[in-house]
Assembly symmetry: C2
Homo-oligomer: 393 residues x 2
């Protein structure tokens, strides 16, 4: 009676959610302070004060009908203007409000962009390891996932990407700062990628698109996050305020189509059409207006940095091999045994809840989300030490 | 380079939006008080006071990380519990929180339900006239639209629905109170429909589903709106708070799967899967909590009733033929000439902006959205009188 593919997607809870639910159960059994849940990427620092202040101001001053009524499908005109203005100023690239489409968060930005682009037979390149929902979103849009492994340091293997490009390649999906590795791609490697794409585009009927999934843009520890539109013309930025403003549950973000994109207006129309077909009437109106007033702001990144330093240093000292995170709030750690799932099961004995890398498209690693209370990190360190000892590290 | 179907969907703005944009332009040219825009269904009364009060209370008291963080994909547990409890109490039907899925509004409720149900070859029956996006949503899910005309009074032609059922019929999509006619289906006609469906279900491998699209449930002028779950087991309610709480822009609603539905759990899993595939991570978290505290409330329906009475009485006195609206905030009026588009063009000369019925799947009518300021109605009456005279009414 129901669509089996959808039923399966609904029944197979994501591995991450599965661990999270186990953690909740375990916390009820033995106490919340004794379980070290590093599964979810739910921001652990409050929104900047400006967020609630602006929300309360709007609720108290703007007429209800205007504040809570429909906005245009692409967003309130002044909000789109503010976002375009921010992009022009902050990143020094041309941008027009007419190419900004406000969305219900990163997943909406991605699914709408993929549905807008995808035609029968299209391939989408992702860099493994990658956020598991990329596969769900690409396949739902009718596309084929082409995995290209990152290099040893989890940065771009530009030559490998070049070799993976076929006449069917529609787009390359990049995520920097990266989930799950914390890598931040450099200006140099992105310029090299751009050069290869420009070369591959010669004589192609339609140009290869770069989709830049940027929910972690503001969360870096010194690294610069180059703006892809400045490096490559056929770029679509999928942005979300979920992590920067700690608004993951409010579902608010935007799609920005580069004016230098081939057929930018047609692509933008397709974005509007895909949003319409998927049932996105408009992005939540109160938070459209709130985020337009908080562009470029972020929560307490220093707290994430402290967590990162504390955890990274302790784990390295314990003998684990970790990728130093340059951004986002994930630590990618090598499993001391080849089977990361088995390692995660052993970690569970110490109430350490880690996510095996298999669902991210690579084997032998675990993802540790350090967007948690500092006490959770502190409390977990003896457990990690015992775990290291068990492996003779 | 882009998906042509999506580009076309994005470029062909809906007729309603087209008229609305024309109205905005015209208002700038001759003054807002001289243009009588009856195109959009955007609530014109403020949200009940409890809405902003609860939002401000939550923003001021609930920890930011908990308030603005991800909820479970189906919604915050206490919110789902509150909705299930409300349904049990208000409508006297069994309901479990485990069958409530919070959504980003009515369009999300519908697209997710359709994607959850639709398999290759499925047919979905709609009652014409019907909300134009139904066709977009059904076709995007891969289904085929089967139109069954309403009867003369724009109520259900139960026999015609029965005759339209084939082995491919997956579901029937009902909308009561109705957009665009204002009809509210009676207990008697719904019971008759249920009886036919039960009969048709005999020997069918999978049962026919009733999808009840209910954004106008609370907006009636005396008529009772029977709860479909009490009349037919295989029912999915697609609810939205957009109109009742005047929250159209905030995108908040829910799907309720009847526990008596065949394979209710599998259907609910498919709902979760469809939401996931479409990029709906969770419904906006602040407004999940706000609406859970305002269940069953509504804005100032008396204002809509005054608008309805003023407009309906004047138009009938002018000689127009109108369907008396039993609910929602739309007046469906017969065009005095067969071509409703031509009539709307003539009305434009008097700055009256009406929506021709063609895009709703019937000819010869116009939809007049009376969710406007009372002054707009009062100001429009002389214009309607002149228009009537032009037709010799």
């Amino acid at each position: 009676m129901v669509n089996c593919k959808m039923q399966k997607l609904g029944e197979e809870r994501s591995v991450i959610r599965e661990i999270f639910e186990y953690g909740n159960k375990r916390k009820q059994e033995i106490g919340a302070d004794k379980v070290f849940d590093f599964s979810l990427g739910n921001p652990s620092v409050p929104s900047p004060d400006a967020v609630n202040a602006e929300a309360i101001r709007l609720l108290g001053s703007m007429p209800s009908v205007a504040l809570h009524g429909y906005t245009s499908a692409a967003g309130a005109p002044d909000v789109r203007e503010a976002v375009a203005d921010y992009i022009r100023t902050a990143f020094g690239v041309p941008m027009s409000a007419s190419l900004i489409y406000m969305t219900c968060g990163a997943a909406a930005s991605l699914t709408i962009t993929l549905n807008a682009l995808c035609e029968a037979g299209d391939e989408f390149i992702v860099i493994s390891p990658y956020f598991p929902e990329y596969r769900v979103f690409i396949e739902q849009a009718g596309g084929t996932v082409v995995e290209v492994p990152a290099n040893e340091g989890f940065h771009l293997d530009v030559a490998a990407i070049g070799n993976a490009i076929t006449p069917h390649t529609k787009a390359i999906l990049l995520n920097s700062p990266n989930n799950p590795t914390g890598a931040v791609y450099t200006q140099k490697e992105l310029a090299a990628l751009s050069a290869i794409l420009v070369q591959k585009n010669e004589g192609r009927a339609s140009k290869i698109v770069l989709i830049s999934d940027e929910p972690y843009r503001e969360l870096t520890y010194g690294a610069q996050v180059p703006y892809l539109m400045a490096l490559y013309p056929h770029t679509v930025v999928c942005y979300s305020f979920s992590k920067s403003l700690s608004l993951a549950g409010e579902r608010i973000g935007y799609i920005a189509v580069s004016p230098q994109c081939e057929n930018a207006e047609a692509l933008f129309a397709a974005v509007c059409g895909a949003g319409r077909a998927q049932g996105y009437v408009c992005a939540p109106s109160l938070f459209q207006r709130v985020t337009a007033k908080c562009l470029g702001q972020s929560g307490d990144i220093a707290a994430y940095r402290e967590n990162r330093d504390l955890l990274y240093n302790a784990l390295v000292q314990d003998g684990f091999t970790c990728i130093p995170p340059e951004g986002a709030f994930y630590l990618f750690m090598k499993s001391p045994e080849p089977d990361a799932k088995a390692f995660c099961e052993r970690a569970k004995k110490y109430e350490l809840l880690l996510v095996p890398s298999d669902s991210f498209g690579v084997e032998g690693y675990v993802r540790i989300s350090y967007c948690v209370a500092r006490e959770t990190i502190e409390g977990s360190l003896p457990a990690f030490r015992l775990l290291a000892k068990e492996y003779g590290l």
